[in-house]
Every structure is written in C-alpha cells, then in structure tokens.
C-alpha cells in the first residue's frame, strides 16, 4: 500500500514538474489578472464569432473584456470621436487601408512589434509567419506593424452556375467577355423574372471599394508617380467608363443608389446573373434562409482588363490605442493574440469569416467542410494577385473617396466621364492631405 502511494505521489510530482517546466517556457496568461479592457468593435461577422468566446479568454487570463459593438455606418464616427476625446479605450477594429494614415498621424495606433517580439508577451505558438504576408504588410505604417488581421477580404465575380450551364456559357475571363455575358443576360426571362446581366455597387463613395479593382485592371491608379491625382489618367477614365456603362446598360434600375445591401439583394433574389462584390458575402449567398439562389453559385476572379486581373485586398485588423495605459495595452495585446490565434482563426473561417492565416485555409477541417472549393481557390488566388492600395494614399481618405464616387455616379448616369474625371482630379489635388 505504501509503495502504491509513493508511486502515485512520484507520478504526481513528475507531472507537476513537467507542467511547471513547460509553463515557465510559455507565456504567463495570468500576468494581467484583474485588469479590465475595453474594445470598440464593428458589427461584423468576426465580432459575432468572437464575442461568445470571450468568457473563455476571461477564464484563461482573469482579464475582463468589455465589447462595445456598433453598426458600420456609425462605428467609424464613434471610434474617431472617442479616440480624440481620450476616453478609456484600449483596443479597436480598424480597416488599415482606410484609416491607418489618419490614425497614425493622430497618434492613436500603438506599434505592436515590441509586443510580438517579446516572449513574455507572445506565445511561440502564435506564429506570426502564418499570417498572409500581404495582409500583415497592409497593417503596417512607417515600417511598424499596427494591427493584426482578423479577416482577409477581396472581391470575387459570383455568377449563377446553373444559368451558365443552362445556356452553355463559359465564365468570362476578360472584361470584353464580361460585358458580352452581361449583355446576354440582360432582359432575358428566367423563372418568370426579367434578369439583369450584372449588379454592382453604384452609390458614390461606397462604390469605390469595388470599382478600384477595375481601376487597377484597366491600368489606372490613384496617383501619378509625381504624387498628383491620376483620376483623369487614361487607364482610370477607361475604368470609370467601363464600370459605369456596365451598370447603366446591364444592371438593375437605379444603379446610383446600389449599396452592397441592395446589390446583394438583387442577386440573392435571383434577378441578376452575376455580381461583383466582396468574397465575404458567400455566407449570405449560400444561406437558404436569406438567398433564393443558394447552392447555385460559382465564384471566379475578376476578369482581366488591359493591365491584367488585379483585384484589391483589404482587411480588418485589431489594433491597440496608443494613449491607453501600458498595463492595459499589454492586456489588450493578450486579447488580440488570443483572438487571432490558430484555433480561433480556423473557427472564424468555418463560421464564414475569411481568415488571415494560411493554416486555417490549409487545415483538413476546413478542406473537408468546404462546399465551395471554387470560392476557396479563387479567394486565395485573389490574395496573391491582389493590390492592397484599395484607397487613395492620403490621410483624408473619406473625402477623396467621396470625390471619386461622384465620377462613378456620373459614369452610371451616362454623363461626360472625361470632364467629370478631370474636375475630380483637380479637386483631389486641391484637397488631398499627405
């Protein structure tokens, strides 16, 4: 009997030593126990995914996390006003491509490199190299990483596979083919509905996020190498014209008021043969409760223009407020690290959020559950081809987007695109802040 007890005791001791040993090599999750941190979040599928899991984090670390979630329209406002007023805000979601220059200049972004490099703060298993490099680069300003990507977005051409099969059409691979396919479907009666060829965003500034793929594919750019506006450049004007004509001639009524909500509704209702919009909408298109065309969709990369197939890539990141107290910054870092670790990235991907980690996409769990392999393949292809400068390289991004949006609206309405673009270029030169 005594021997047995001794044996068990020895085993227990060995276990304890092993655990303790490995614990000292790992980071101490409980080092900021008792801290309370506050995150401002956008109402986004990632937020919906991670919020219920917060208790797990709280148990792991003893840190209390408060989430405040706002709908997109108001989120940016609230976030900027709060950061400026210097309240207790520790971390937030940000689209670096939209706000990084502005927020960097305002001193609201905390560089994360020191945290990532510190083994006391970052677990080796977090593996920063697992993130898609282009997205990490997108979350970097002045050589310093300021955010960790939580969703990786690009845009895809989604089309009605069933109709393409029915009419024996192949997927368009050039812009000309895209136009012809759209023309083919426009006005056709299918299932008692009059179809439109394609639906796209047309609502001014909001449309620039999608139009920008056409900008690059037609060889245009936001600025010239000299740093002046290139809105009136040949490639740019060509992209305005093509985009506007596509929507005007083969798109739904009222093109200039199409935001992603209206555009995706038309597609999901079955009235559009194609839609070009963010890849993240797949979870909407394939949901039978929301979409009438679930299960009948194919996904492709943007057709090639004169300058090739150049979609954009964008992402949301989690960032830390530079003005927050150092202790809370580190606690916030622990949260961000946890929220973007491998298991959670995979979980997010399985929940429909395109993750920023290669391991999630390559995992067997994802591959076995993947019902839309063409979406996966083409999303990854887009990541490779993608152009991260989806916004003008300025500080006052919304203002320039607004100016650009006016040209898109004019193009859709059939007005003189060259004149409109020229006016916009002048305005952009006058207003842009670098």
């Amino acid at each position: 009997m005594k021997r047995k007890i001794a044996c068990v005791a020895l085993m227990a001791l060995l276990c304890a030593v092993t655990v303790a040993g490995s614990a000292s090599a790992q980071l101490n999750w409980k080092q900021f126990q008792g801290t309370e941190i506050r995150f401002l979040m956008n109402k986004h599928p990632f937020t919906t995914f991670i919020e219920p899991k917060i208790p797990d984090f709280e148990k792991l670390t003893g840190i209390k996390v408060v989430f405040e979630v706002f709908p997109e329209d108001q989120y940016r406002n609230k976030r900027t006003i709060e950061l400026n007023a210097g309240g207790k805000l520790d971390g937030y979601m940000i689209m670096p491509g939209q706000d990084d220059l502005y927020y960097w200049k305002a001193g609201w972004l905390q560089p994360l490199d020191a945290f990532i490099a510190d083994p006391k703060l970052t677990d080796a298993a977090w593996d920063p190299k697992d993130f898609f490099q282009s997205f990490t680069k997108a979350s970097t300003v002045d050589g310093k990483q300021i955010g960790v990507v939580i969703n990786a977005e690009t845009s895809l051409l989604s089309y009605r596979k069933d109709l393409f099969d029915q009419f024996k059409l192949k997927v368009p691979t050039t812009m000309k083919e895209l136009e012809e396919t759209a023309k083919f479907f426009y006005g056709k009666e299918v299932d008692g509905k009059k179809m439109v060829g394609i639906t796209l965003r047309g609502k001014g500034a909001a449309a620039t996020s999608q139009w920008v793929d056409f900008l690059y594919s037609f060889g245009g750019s936001w600025t010239t190498p000299q740093g002046k506006s290139n809105l009136a450049g040949a490639g740019t004007v060509a992209s305005f014209k093509f985009y506007g004509d596509l929507l005007k001639n083969y798109g739904p009524e009222g093109g200039t008021m199409l935001h992603w909500a209206e555009s995706t509704s038309v597609f999901m209702e079955g009235k559009a043969a194609m839609i070009y919009d963010a890849n993240v909408f797949k979870s909407l298109y394939e949901n039978p409760k929301e979409s009438k065309v679930a299960g009948r969709i194919g996904y492709a990369v943007i057709p090639a223009g004169p300058a090739g197939s150049v979609p954009h890539v964008s992402n949301w990141s989690l960032s830390i407020n530079k003005n927050s107290a150092p202790e809370r910054q580190k606690a916030a870092w622990l949260f961000i690290q946890w929220a973007t670790n491998k298991p959670n990235a995979l979980g997010a991907l399985l929940a429909g959020v395109p993750a920023g980690r290669a391991s999630a996409w390559d995992s067997p769990e994802y591959k076995s559950k993947d019902t839309q392999p063409d979406w996966t393949a083409n999303t990854k292809k887009s990541f490779e081809l993608g152009q991260p400068q989806w916004n003008p390289p300025v500080i006052n991004v919304p203002e320039i987007r607004d100016i650009t949006g006016q040209v898109i609206v004019d193009a859709i309405q059939g007005k003189d695109v060259e004149a409109s673009a020229k006016k916009a270029a002048e305005l952009m030169d006058k207003k842009m802040e670098l």
Binding site: K43, D73, K292
Partner: protein, 274 residues
C-alpha cells in the same frame, strides 16, 4: 338632383375621402409588421408576397438577442426624466415669460430649437467625456432637454397667457404668497397644457436618434439606436428591422392615440395664442 341622391353622393364622397386618408397609413404600418413576420429571403422577393406563413422568429430574436427590453427601459427612463425635468424648469419659466412679457428669454429658448442638432454633438462629446458622463443617463437626459424644454416652454406660454390676471390677484388678496398662488391656482387651470407638453416632450424624446447615437453606450442605448443593430457589415436584416420597427413604433403610436385629444388641445393653444 333629388335630396337622397345628393345625400348618397355626399356620402360616397366622404367615404372615399376617408379611404384615401386611411389606406396609406394602414398600408405602411401593415407592411412594417409583415416585414417583421417574413424571413430574409421572403423580404427580397419579387413580386412581394402578401400572403405567406408568418414566422415569429424575428420578434423573438429582437427580444432575446438584442436585449430589446433593456433599450425600452433606457428610452423610458431618459424620456421620462427629460420630460419631468423640463416640466420643473419650464413651467415656472413659461409662467414668468407670459406674465412679465419676457420676450427675450422666449427668444433664447427658441434659439435652442433652431440650432442644428448636429452642431451640439462634438462640443457635448468633448465636455461629457471630460466629465466622465458618457453613457450615463445624466448626459443623455441633459441633451434631450434641448428638445423637451423648449417644447414645454413654447406650449405653456400660450396656456399661461390665457389665465386671467385677476384670479391671481384675488388669491393674493386672500393671503396667498405668489408661489402658493402659482401652485394652487394657476397650475390646475393649465393642467391640460401640462398634459399636452408632457406628452409631446415624451414622444419627441423617445424618437430622438442622433444624440442617443453618439452619446450613448451599452448601458444607455435607446430604442431608435437599437434599430440600427440590424444593419451589420455584410448584411441588412430587413426582417429584423421590420420586427424592431414594429416594436418601436407601436407603443408610442398607441400611447399617442389614447392621448390624442389632449395633444390636439395643447397644439391648438400653442398655435392660436401668440
């Protein structure tokens, strides 16, 4: 035309008028309720479905997932407080303006209502953040006072003007102080006005969107702001919006219905006397 023919013609005219006036209102409200009872894909159907199997899932979701009862509570507290404080501050002020013809103060109150609400936002945000009052009932109530206090004052001035001066004089001869005369004699005379201005205050505060949007937080989110919860990144939940809109609009409309006579009286006094 014979008398009965003329009468029938008149009736027809009147009843078609009644129809023309009621149909748009009923239709919009019915559509709102139906949107809430449909699924997402039903809501984007074309032709729109008028006959369908309703689902109560959206209404249930509004209460469960979106903490709706709490928003209702917040709206109630803030509107209630704003109305109450407006009465305490506004009744004496309106009385004084009416009695002593203090037009200048009246103008100041009007100025408050004329200013675009957006221009209040940034200064308030900075001030309240500094005073650590963001996401408190205090801050929101104070800001709602911009809407309710001028309304109470504007409506009540007219009512107070209709109180004959001799009544008060008589009371004071009998030994009342001015304060007592105000509370015991004048106020009861204008109780209709008080009721009206309270109701109007409450309704407008309840419906206030912009201030609550910027200055509220999770503890004080009000009902109109809650509607925007259904608009998220990558999805507009029309069915949820329909359900939420129904739940938001119906209580205040029903309330207004029950007190409509009082509202009318008050609006009249405000408009006629000036």
């Amino acid at each position: 035309m014979t008398k009965t023919a003329k009468q029938t013609f008149r009736s027809v005219l009147f009843y078609s008028g009644a129809l023309a006036l009621s149909v748009p209102q009923v239709f919009v409200f019915a559509w709102m309720i139906m949107t809430g009872l449909k699924t997402g894909s039903q809501n984007i159907s074309y032709p729109p479905e008028f006959i369908f199997t309703p689902t109560f899932e959206n209404f249930r979701a509004v209460f469960q997932q979106h903490n709706f009862l709490y928003y209702l509570f917040n709206s109630l507290v803030i509107a209630g407080l704003a109305t109450f404080i407006s009465l305490i501050l506004g009744l004496p002020a309106a009385y004084s303006i009416a009695k002593y013809r203090q037009g200048k103060i009246g103008i100041m109150i009007l100025l408050a209502r004329m200013t675009p609400f957006v221009s209040y936002l940034l200064p308030w945000y900075i001030i309240f953040r500094y005073l650590k009052l963001i996401d408190t009932y205090t801050a929101l109530t104070l800001t709602h006072l911009i809407i309710t206090l001028p309304m109470v004052a504007w409506l009540m001035v007219a009512f107070f003007e209709s109180v004959p001066a001799d009544l008060e004089d008589a009371a004071m001869i009998d030994g009342c102080s001015r304060l007592q005369s105000f509370i015991r004699i004048v106020l009861p005379l204008v109780r209709n006005g008080i009721a009206t201005s309270a109701i109007m205050s409450f309704i407008f505060s309840w419906n206030q969107f912009l201030f609550s949007l910027i200055l509220s937080g999770p503890n004080t989110k009000t009902v109109p702001v809650a509607v925007y919860n259904f608009i998220s990144y990558g999805k507009i939940d029309w069915a949820g919006i329909g359900a939420a809109a129904t739940l938001i609009v119906l209580p205040v409309s029903v309330f207004a219905f029950f007190v409509r006579k009082t509202i009318v009286q008050g609006l009249t006094m405000g408009a006629l006397k000036d």
